[in-house]
């Protein structure tokens, strides 16, 4: 039963993600995890402010069910299927500790320096999380999809726009980690 508690290797996880995409296609839907953000905006009345949110969001309620499922999945996995630690490359872990005083690699799933209730007493941390989320939401909608919609669904369907978007994802991520992290943290 160890496989339940141990982290699943990439060659198990990748095919299972492809399976999620196939399942959604076979039940007549498309795999994409950022569209529910737009659906949610529409559902809470954003259509009054912008036409972009004037659509039949009730027809998209299915993707809110997938999101609710993901929340439940996260609860089940973290409480019953995991010791909630993540081992990363020791060199990266050392560098994180030396450069950014993030010393929890190997002992936690998320760095408590950013993702604990105590950390939220620091307005800087709140700002980082808020701006990070904002860029994700804005960028995903601007690019018409996120990691699941473009990097998995779009690329699987050999879509050139998805390739451009994924190249953009990595340009942005690399710039952030290599050039902006030292300025921000």
């Amino acid at each position: 039963m160890n496989w339940i508690y141990e982290p699943w290797p990439w060659y198990v996880a990748g095919p299972l993600i492809a399976l999620v995409m196939f399942l959604l296609l076979l039940i007549g839907k498309q795999f994409g995890m950022s569209s529910p953000l737009r659906t949610t905006c529409a559902a809470i009345g954003a259509g009054k402010a912008a036409d972009f949110f004037k659509f039949d969001w009730k027809a998209e309620r299915w993707n809110l069910m997938v999101v609710l499922g993901a929340v439940i999945g996260g609860y089940i996995a973290s409480n019953y299927m995991s010791d909630n630690t993540v081992e990363i490359n020791p060199e990266v872990a050392q560098q994180l500790a030396a450069d950014y005083q993030i010393e929890s690699a190997g002992t936690s799933y998320m760095p408590p320096e950013l993702f604990s209730l105590e950390a939220l007493s620091n307005p800087f941390v709140i700002g980082v999380l808020l701006v990070g989320g904002f860029l994700v939401g804005f960028g995903a909608r601007y690019a018409g999809g996120c990691t699941s919609g473009h990097a998995i669904s779009g690329l699987s369907n050999l879509q050139l726009p998805s390739l451009i978007a994924v190249v953009g994802f990595f340009i942005g991520g690399l710039v952030m980690v290599h050039f902006l992290y030292p300025l921000i943290f």
């Binding site: 995409m21 996260g74 490359n89 804005f138 998995i152 942005g172």
Partner: protein
């Protein structure tokens, strides 16, 4: 009944994301440091299988339940929106250490601060909706 199916697919996805550590901030940081093959392996193997599966679906003309065509619409053409939007997304992905799928998973796992990231993502989506007509696409 159909809603139970969507819920079940979501639960399965959530477990895979958490158990593969793709939802961990550390794995995202490590990926952008090229510190491990793990994340590239996840995305790469999903992709290889995804390409093969979709080609097979097309060759065999597989239909969705109910007899409808699979939702495989081609993406709109363009470069600017995908490149600029993609870069903005990537900046946020690395800054928050989470993309949309894992956000929901982490909320379920009990990491309360992720709710701020989710609020940020909703705000970002909303502001894009406001500015849409003024942005190059």
């Amino acid at each position: 009944m159909r809603y139970i199916t969507y819920l079940a697919v979501g639960v399965f996805f959530g477990i895979v994301m958490f158990k593969s550590e793709a939802a961990s901030w550390f794995r995202i940081y490590e990926m952008f440091q090229f510190g491990s093959f793990h994340m590239y392996g996840i995305i790469g193997s999903a992709l290889v299988l995804g390409i093969l599966g979709i080609q097979l679906f097309k060759i065999k003309n597989v239909k969705a339940v109910g007899g409808n065509n699979l939702k495989l619409q081609p993406k709109d053409k363009g470069i600017a929106r995908y490149l600029i939007g993609g870069i903005i997304f990537g900046l946020g992905w690395a800054l928050a250490g989470a993309c949309p799928g894992p956000m929901y998973v982490l909320a379920g796992a009990g990491y309360a601060p992720i709710l701020i990231v989710i609020v940020g993502a909703l705000l970002g989506t909303f502001v894009y909706g406001l500015l849409r007509s003024k942005l190059p696409h």
